[in-house]
Every structure is written in C-alpha cells, then in structure tokens.
Subunit: 419 residues, 2 copies
C-alpha cells in the first residue's frame, strides 16, 4: 500500500464471470475454511463470525456444509474458557482429502502424501540415476512409486484429491515438458506417457495430475510451511541449474507462459565465462553446483545434488580454504543476482532452497553484503535472507500441499465432487 494514501482495497473483483447467487455461498465457504486453516488454535463458530464479519447463523450454516463434506471436524476436547457455554473448536479434517506430490529428478524419485492440515503423512524416496533412463521408463518407475504412496494413503483412510509432479525443467501447457536439460528430456508429453496408468486418467476417485517446475513447487512448499510468514518472497533453488520461484502476495507468479524464475542466466559478469545458453557470465557459471565444485577443487561434478551440497557443507565446516573461497565467490555472484531481483520486485525476503539450504551459513553473508551494497531501499527496511525450512525434496511436499491448498481456497470444488 505504499505510495498510496486514502487507499481503498478492492475485495476480490474478478474480471472473469458474473457473481451468481450460488457464488455467495461458494465464496463464504472459502472464507470460513481459510480462516480455520490459518488460525493458530481451533476457532469457534462465534469467533469465526466475529472475525469474518458474517453472522453466527451464516457461519453455522457454512460450517455445517464443511463438516458434511469431511473438510472440517469439531475438536473433541472443548477448550475451557471463562464463563458461558463452552465453544466447540473447529479443525481441518486430517482424514479427508489429501494431496499426492511427486518428483522426478536427476538422481531420485519421490512421492509424498500430505493431508488437509498440511501434515506429511507419507514420504517415499527412491535413489536412482535417471539420466540414462528414457522418459517413459522414468515415468513408469514413478507411477509405481505413486501407486505405493496411494496405497499407503488409502490405508490411512485418506482420499487423494489430486497430484502434482515436479520436474527440473520448463513445463508447457498440458503437462508437456519442453526442456529438462539435466534429465535429458525434450518435449516429453507426461500425460501421454502415463496413459493407462491410474495417475493420468481422472476416472473413479483417481486424481488428475498437474506438472510443474520443481522450483515453483518448492517455493509454494516454503510458502505453506512458513504460514503465516511473508507472503512475498524469492525462493532460489540451487541444483545443477539455478531456479527461482517467485511468490507475490501469497500466490506463485508463473509469468506469461509459466516460465518465470529463470534466474540461472542472470548476467553477473557480462564479459565473463561463456554459457551454454549463448550468453556470457551467467549466474549458473558462478553459483551453479558444477561451478562451486570445480572452484572447491572437487572432482565429482557427477555427484548427486544433495550429496554435493552435503560434501561442500562438510568441507566448509572443517574449514577447507578452497571450499570456503568457492562458497564466498558463489555467494557474491548469487548476491549480485538476488540484489537485482530485489531491486526490481521490492521483496523483503529471500529464501535459499534446494542445494543452497545446507550451504546457507556460508552463502548468506556475501549475499547479504551484495544486497546492502546494491539495494537502495535496504536502508529503509532490511531484506531477510534465510535457508528454506523444508530441506531437499521440498518440491514433492510443496506439490502435495498445493493440491490440498487448492481445496482450502475453493472448497466447493471438493464438496460438489464427493458422492
């Protein structure tokens, strides 16, 4: 709201369709459910009414719908408050819909199940070098892992409401992976390759699948895991490539075609090292995994991403001079890029995720230094730089959470779907 005074905030004016009679209930279901999800302790109907501005009567009716739809349950132990009839707390249901998060990466496959409360109920990881595997083969193995996760969810009485697949590459419309360089994928049509597998077809209770970039889903995971934390931030994922997820006002910014966040080719040294992208001096050539390993004098450029980060962290912990210097240089390059982004987008939080998370103790100081050198507004309000709270494989968790988060944001979609 800066730059504005006498500022009228508009309450959700959609450019899309008209607001029909039923939309009222649809919107209020979302308002109440979001409030329940965001509360730190189970709120009562009366409290929700006071907070939202709705009547207690309306809140009761809305809550009845939510309970009937298995999205909300009443907390059994009534929390003793002062005088008066004791309130019945409302909680998100832990045994209702759940989300399935999947990830295919260079050296592992992952699947996880997250319930409506955001709890990770299952998390399966299979290490495997997938670079030699064909896309069809990799996806077949992923489907098997997904079936395993789904069976575990069913055993818990959960209903999978959808699935999200994280891939390290550019994703186009319809689940088409245009390019995933480190996997060696190009124009891989994921739904087509999964045809026949239960994941791909929305029959029965089987969910449809959305495919997204791993950096995007990791950023969403961070958003949900830190709620109510900052609602706008930059989430930088350092792997072989460097990706950024941009969260603006609580929503992931995807860009015109869904390809936002390409920070790896930010020019940190325009006359510097040539890059395979055709440019020169790209960030990736200074703060990418291979560049850091090379600068630290480590041979294994073929190391798995998290192994590489752990190796570097161990060496830095031990005070290895070459590693410390490599990390300082990488942090400076990263700081130049991050400062540029912060200047452009006026963000107050930067999250170091993926392989950068374990290296944050050494990367953070140079990043902070570059920010305070280059960001003009840093003098008025500081920029927070911190490691991601979710560690590696946060993309799968973020994807699964985004599935259930969609239900919280628009519960009518779930309510009208269940028999």
């Amino acid at each position: 709201m800066a730059g504005m005074w006498q500022c009228q905030v508009v309450t959700s004016a959609s450019t899309a369709g008209a607001v029909r009679q039923g939309s009222l209930r649809e919107l209020n279901l979302a308002v109440v459910l979001r409030r329940i999800a965001a509360a730190d302790r189970p709120p009562s109907r009366a409290e929700l009414a006071a907070r939202t501005g709705l009547t207690r009567a309306t809140v009761s009716a809305v809550v009845d719908d939510l309970i009937a739809g298995r999205l909300v349950v009443e907390a059994e132990p009534a929390p003793r408050t002062g005088a008066g009839r004791p309130a019945r707390g409302l909680l998100l249901a832990a045994d209702g819909p759940a989300g399935l998060g999947l990830e295919v990466n260079v050296d592992y496959l992952a699947a996880c199940v997250v319930d409506l409360t955001g709890t990770v109920r299952h998390h399966l990881v299979r290490r495997a070098d997938l670079r030699p595997a064909s896309p069809a083969d990799a996806l077949a193995r992923l489907a098997a892992l997904a079936a395993e996760a789904r069976a575990a969810a069913v055993r818990d009485g959960l209903t999978l409401a959808g699935a999200a697949l994280a891939v390290p590459g550019l994703v186009g419309d319809g689940g088409l992976v245009r390019l995933a360089p480190n996997l060696g994928w190009r124009d891989v049509d994921v739904p087509a390759l999964l045809a026949g597998h239960p994941l791909a077809e929305p029959v029965d209770g089987v969910p449809p699948l959305v495919v997204d970039n791993e950096a995007n889903l990791a950023a969403l995971g961070e958003l949900y895991a830190t709620a109510p934390g900052p609602r706008s931030f930059l989430h930088v994922t350092g792997e072989i490539g460097i990706g950024a997820g941009i969260v603006l006002d609580g929503a992931l910014y995807r860009g015109a075609r869904g390809w936002s966040g390409e920070i790896g080719h930010f020019p940190v040294q325009p006359q510097g090292r040539p890059c395979r992208c055709g440019g020169q001096g790209c960030l990736e050539r200074y703060a990418g995994q291979e560049a850091i390993l090379a600068a630290a004098g480590l041979p294994g450029a073929e190391l798995p991403a998290d192994t590489a980060a752990t190796r570097l962290a161990d060496l830095a912990e031990g005070g290895d001079p070459a590693t410390l210097a490599a990390l300082a240089d990488a942090g400076t390059a990263l700081g130049v890029a991050v400062a540029g982004v912060v200047n452009l987008l006026d963000l107050d939080t930067v999250v170091l995720g993926g392989g950068y998370a374990p290296l944050a103790p050494w990367l953070r100081p140079p990043v902070v230094a570059e920010i305070s050198r280059r960001v003009l507004t840093a003098a008025w309000s500081p920029v927070t730089v911190r490691p991601a709270v979710l560690g590696a494989q946060s993309a799968a968790v973020g994807g699964a959470t985004s599935v259930v988060r969609r239900i919280v944001d628009r519960p009518v979609g779930w309510l009208t779907r269940t028999p």
Copy 2:
C-alpha cells in the same frame, strides 16, 4: 500490499473478508461496467447478459443503477441490426466522473483531465526548471496548475473523482516522497505541504490525492491506452534515472513496500563504472540520459529530458557516428538488463517509454539482440519490444486514467458517494 486496485482473482488465497449480501450487487456492478468499458462497440443489455452469464433481468437492474449514477448512457443512434427489436447500445458516460492527473518533474509541471471513456479532455504543461525550487514552492505552482485544470473540467460539466500525482522518486505511505534525487527532494510530505490547498482536503467535491512513482503511472497509462493489449509487460522509462513499471496480469505490481521497478541499478557490468548507489556497473551508468549524452559527445548534461531525447534522435537521424555508437551501447546495456527481467518474469512484451520512446528505432535492435541471445524461452515464443504509445508526460495521463479506472473497477464507491 501489492496494489491499489489490483484485480484479485476470486480463487486466490486472499485473506479478504466475507461476502455479504450487498457484495453481490457491488460485484455485479463492476462486472457489467467493466464489460461495457472493454467492449469495442456499445453492447446491449441482452449481449451483456449473454457474455457475463447473468440474467437479462439482473443486467437490466444493474444497468439502471449505472445509468442513475451517471456512469453509463444509452447510445442514441440505435445501430441497425437484423430483425427484431433494435438493441440499445450502452456507453460509458463522457460527462460523469473524471480523473485529474498531475506530474511534477525536473523541468516541467503537468496536469491533465481524463474522462470515464479514457479521453484526455485537457492537458496543461508548464515548462520550468524545478530543481532550484523548494518542494513547497513547486507544489504551490502545481496546485495553481491543478486549479486551472479543474476549472476547465468543471466548465465541461465533469466531476473530478480524484487525483493522482506522479513524482520521479520513491514514494512511501501517506504520500511521503522518501527520495526524488533529480528533484533534490528527500522526505517531502506532499499532503502536509498542500494543506489548505483544495487538492489535499476531501471536502466538497474536491478529490483526495494519491502520490505515486512516475514510472508506475506511465506503465498504467500504457496499459490503459493499449487495452485490450498485453496484460503483462515491462515498461521502461528512460530519463535521468531509469525506472520500470511492472504490469502483471492487468495490474501494476508495486512490491512489498511500493518500491518495485528499480531497474536503474541492474548490474550490467559488475566490475564496471562506479555508481552513486555504491554498486558498480549499474545500468544507469550506461543507458541513463547523462551516460548517453556523454558518450555521444554532447556537452549539455543539464538538458531537459525530452529535449535531450529529441536532440539525440535528431543526431541519430542525421547519421552522427558518435550518437549512433552511444545509442547502440546504451541499447546493449539496456538489453542485458531487460533480458534478465524477461528471464525472471517471463514477459512477452517490453515497452520503451519516457525518453526512450523517441530513441526506440536505435535502441530496439540491440535490445532485441540481447534478448534473443540471453532469453532461453525466446525460441518458443518471441518477445515484443516496442515504443510507448503515449509519448512524454504519459505519467500524468496514466495517473488521471487510473483515477477513472478505479471507478470502473469498483463503481459502488462512486455510486454511494454522489448526492
């Protein structure tokens, strides 16, 4: 808070309040009015009903409200169509509310009046070197110009619904100008200095004032002037400093504190020329007005912004080698920065505004070249680079338009305000 009238999509994770009964009409007023504003020819009630999904009965009721509130008029000459009762076209009223746009810049003051249809009804410009003037003096002269514009609007039967002031600097909450380096302003409290002047106090029919960055308002002006054009783009304003307005999905992105768009200190040459910001090799030192003039061998670094741009354009037109080389270098530097932004935000349109607009014929080629070199996704879909359709002083027009645009986006605010 991201923005003043940023269109919130209903399904977004907004913490907004509850939807009451009256909100229904409020939202539908906006839906119908926006549809009328966006139509290329005056739509009938029946057509609006079909497009929005509302009933004809509802649309009629809504339109009655809008006509009663002087926001909409019926087009008199009924456009002859085929058989059946002829439709009565609906238009935005040209004699209802209007917006006042103001601009204070280094070498001129401007005021303009824009009516609801987006037509610029009046545009007053006073050339004056404002650098020696005190903020209070500059604002007093601006207030006189505003009064003149207001009188002209009243003569046309227009009602000013609000005013927006563009300043070349960082604007904080409450209309506080934190820093406007080229004006020599620091922590200037605009509303306080205007106290007593009719602009500042919302008495009578006199509008309240919002203060905003000139690059932001210029970008909004471009958005409205090109509608229905691209809904996401980067608008780069080249003056003494370089500012960027970021429009994402039809709304100006303001950043966490309203200070987004600082592109002038994008690192195009990290080991390059030192900059007054403390960094090195900032874009401003290569593509700012002073840098271009110096490289072209022009002495007058003190030239007014538009004069400087015109001078350079004239010289380039005449084939002056030094000027052509200076513009090529500036374009390359600009292209490096723009490519970084496009990579990050996945935008498909870049607009060269302000002083860059007349120089676009020479700046565009190197910018395009850098984009195609450095933007990975450019291969799949091209990035458009073009000059701004509004010339200089577009910020005042953008500000005035933003005032009336706010009414279109939330007509209930106007309807409940008129006696």
